[in-house]
Symmetry: D2
Subunit: 297 residues, 4 copies
């Protein structure tokens, strides 16, 4: 703590791209059930490449700040293709929220950011009611309610969509695996103070990174950042003294949100002893429209 | 505790069906990372109907009992169709285990139960290595190792498959929502003492139940068990005094495993005050080959 | 949800008394370590009667809102006697915060409420440094730093004290144990949205309650609220149909804080099916100066 | 993983001493409540020096292996003086187990190790019943039951005591704080596979260490192991290249248990990159009767 250390922030940029996103508030009788539902909904959601889609928890919400005055968890889901969002948002709601004791699912997209929406009508969520479902006004909103064994399940009639920003990232390089890992963990914890963003990795940290143009459609390892084969890789990006690297990917509703999160992530990671450098993954500018320069943050 | 209560065990049966299953042991440097990886791999895994497949955590494993002497978590995944298992097991490993710091994925199917296998060769897991991966003998097993930013990822060369049993279940009926819920929770906790089984629901408990022959291919609510519409449903299965119902679904490697888990689940649930009845979901014998009579347990 | 239910709020009052309190912010490199430290410091802290003192977690704090920009947990400790506070606050800091990896302990009493303080000077915390400790300005505050194996431990030079309010409470009566328990749990979750209060019970819920004038100095069971012996107790307070009772005790920096927390607690608990009545524990007005009428809330 | 690394095990010994211990099994309706109760009972229990006493969680226990067929947690408590055990065991049970919803407290000392006992009769636990308590045979044991608001609380009539072994330890030295910390964490996780031992530190890891003969009765920092002042300390034990140290203290029912735990702890810690050395704390042979040589393990 309070020690002066010098960590090199590389002069590079993270390359971000557009992603259609929804923002769902899951509430339940208790924090525990809201969180359990959100974590199931988050699962198999680390990447849009061929997971169904990318999902992450944004934050817990106190009962004083939810429409039904119960504890909640904010969840975001996204995919670069809008069709995928239309397909998987209802499915995740159906299987990971509707099926869970005492939950309600609210659309929580900020009003000013919405420019499209996914309707629940005609999806497996509404149709699950088999005609017993009802369209109701509840909690000041237009909702469906679906009868379950455990009681009525309430769900917003539609979930608004924004064209957000995905792929913001930092890569933490350490003089040992534990240093890089703890550096990444502090970055993820710091990001929790920034609203409107999520980290799709498990606990926010990727051990694996993919390269821009893969020989294989589902992505292949970015060998230039693989510490364990740095002797075999020409043009390795791993400098001497670096023994490990982990990546924190950040998605958010706007470019500003992603930048803010990247900034606090860097500030947190560099405090950890053994963290040597911070860099970022990019695709030489060929992938996305957004370039986020690390040093400008 | 120790109070004598009378809970009616209905004279009915759970109807189970066959499911192809794998059993994966995820280890990591710490329990926390093994568990985080397992929970991501479990996500979006409550049902085979149109989740990618059904997944559940069987148990944590002490480091003394794993091949690499590190803490681990046993995970099971299954689907009625073998093609689905071949497709989604590698994907879940790729996105929910390979990508997570310090993990290893071992095949842990008991030798005597295996009658098929899913090969990792040629899947997105192996191909992620982009030629840098290696076939190695490690921890006394045939494995691949794939280079990542965070170090080598080791994974068994193949995951053996058994034809297991899915759809074992009990439905807990309570005089109020909390009674049925706590009854179901104690059932799930009791099941943790039975090896070779898993509960695919979130925290093991389903608020929703589907009916045998749905008018809709993805399943529709089983209105006969919906307490909130019992006045509107002819032939409701909800007796007077019952206000809520939750279901615990149990899948296992063998029929005996599922029966044993159902037995301890019932014994636990009936101890909870306010639990009125235990019943089970079945499809009038039309779905699966296995009928598990509650009273015989 | 959204069902209209009638729960009787009894026409009674909670009787609260004065307690000297400190408010400590524990930060650490990660949320996990801050929380682990806070939970150890909270332990053996359910009551001032003859636990060392009463302790509870108020809330987690994002890294953006702490002096050292790291994640934190707010902890409160109190006792009716100021000598006890002087004795046990340093001991809990010494054994439950100082000893924990990467932690810092900050005084976080709101400026306007402080009217006394506990100095760290001369206590086991400062003296642990054996002369190697230093008085420093850090994070804009006057602090000590003590050398440990794991690095420097920083701690505020003094922790300010307020004369707060303890013993606010509600008792949740249910038609079964699970109903009363879930009602109490939702009350505790709701209280998390109110700043400046804490609940000293384990997970915020007491299964036991003491009576005003005990035949024994350490408190004895309040038999009038014991459901399991209601047939043997004259003047039992347990009405017909009630099978279980749990108590949520609330302490806070001011009377207004405690009232606000009691209000949201009641509003949450009455939503749970099977909750029959809300009452409160009091000592017939003989114990404390504060009477908080339930119906006025 | 699987990398060959050389970590120096110093040629020294841990010096252990005798401690009177009890072993308590806390069961509850759910794992969650058993664990919450155990964690409260563990709190303020990192050291016998002037915490009330040392406490730690040994393991979770499946419902199939407990007397009341409910999930449980094994807890151990100890102190070098038997009077302290007689005083604080009943107090911790009274405030951290009795007060918690649905719990039962069983004596679980192995038969062959018991050579004394703490009676519950006449303690604040029994007297809490105020005459309504009863002596009963339950779960095949002699127990008291005490009436509470939430129902009967059952507790063993006496808790047997053994003269166990405390102060086994390893100190993990790392090339950075994160390396030493992760090394210590893997050691703690490994210890979970050894029965009859517990680690009293928060999450099992001490950032602070005391020295043998302190100038102050409550213990003072062991400056020889303080990395942050190694330049100011003559005869520092911190070699070049070591930047951080954490200690794992291990107590157990027998010397063999402690040795076994120390062995697996060392084997786990040395696997972590950045861990440089393993040493141990001793008091130059003046404190305790037991010397556990690291290299012999």
């Amino acid at each position: 703590m309070k020690t002066e250390r010098k960590v090199l922030i590389e002069d590079t940029f993270a390359e971000a791209f557009s992603m259609y996103m929804v923002r769902i508030l899951v509430t339940a009788s208790t924090r525990r059930w809201a969180l359990a539902s959100a974590m199931e909904a988050k699962g198999l959601g680390t990447t849009a490449i061929f997971c169904p889609n990318e999902v992450g928890v944004e934050a817990e919400v106190n009962s004083s700040d939810t429409p039904d005055q119960r504890p909640g968890v904010l969840l975001m889901m996204g995919h670069p293709k809008i069709e995928n969002v239309r397909k998987w948002v209802p499915r995740r709601i159906r299987h990971c929220i509707l099926s869970v004791p005492t939950t309600v699912a609210f659309d929580e997209m900020p009003e000013n950011l919405a420019n499209d929406s996914v309707s629940i009508e005609g999806t497996p969520v509404q149709l699950f009611g088999d005609g017993y479902e009802e369209r109701v006004e509840a909690y000041g909103r237009s909702m469906f309610r679906i009868p379950l064994m455990g009681g009525w399940f309430y769900v917003s009639e539609r979930f608004r969509v924004t064209k957000g920003v995905a792929g913001g990232n930092i890569i933490v390089l350490g003089n040992s695996m534990p240093s890089a890992l703890l550096g990444a963990e502090t970055a993820v914890d710091a990001i929790k103070s920034v609203p409107h963003v999520f980290t799709p990795a498990v606990n926010g940290i990727f051990a694996s990174g993919s390269k821009p143009k893969s020989s294989y459609p589902w992505g292949t390892t970015n060998e230039k950042f693989c510490t364990c084969i740095k002797d075999r890789v020409k043009n390795t990006m791993i400098p001497d003294g670096v023994e490990s690297a982990f990546e924190v990917v950040i998605n958010g509703l706007t470019l500003e949100d992603v930048k803010r999160a990247m900034k606090v992530a860097i500030e947190a990671a560099v405090k950890i002893p053994g963290v040597m450098r911070i860099t970022a993954g990019n695709y030489e500018g060929k992938l996305g429209p957004h370039k986020i320069n690390l040093r400008e943050l």
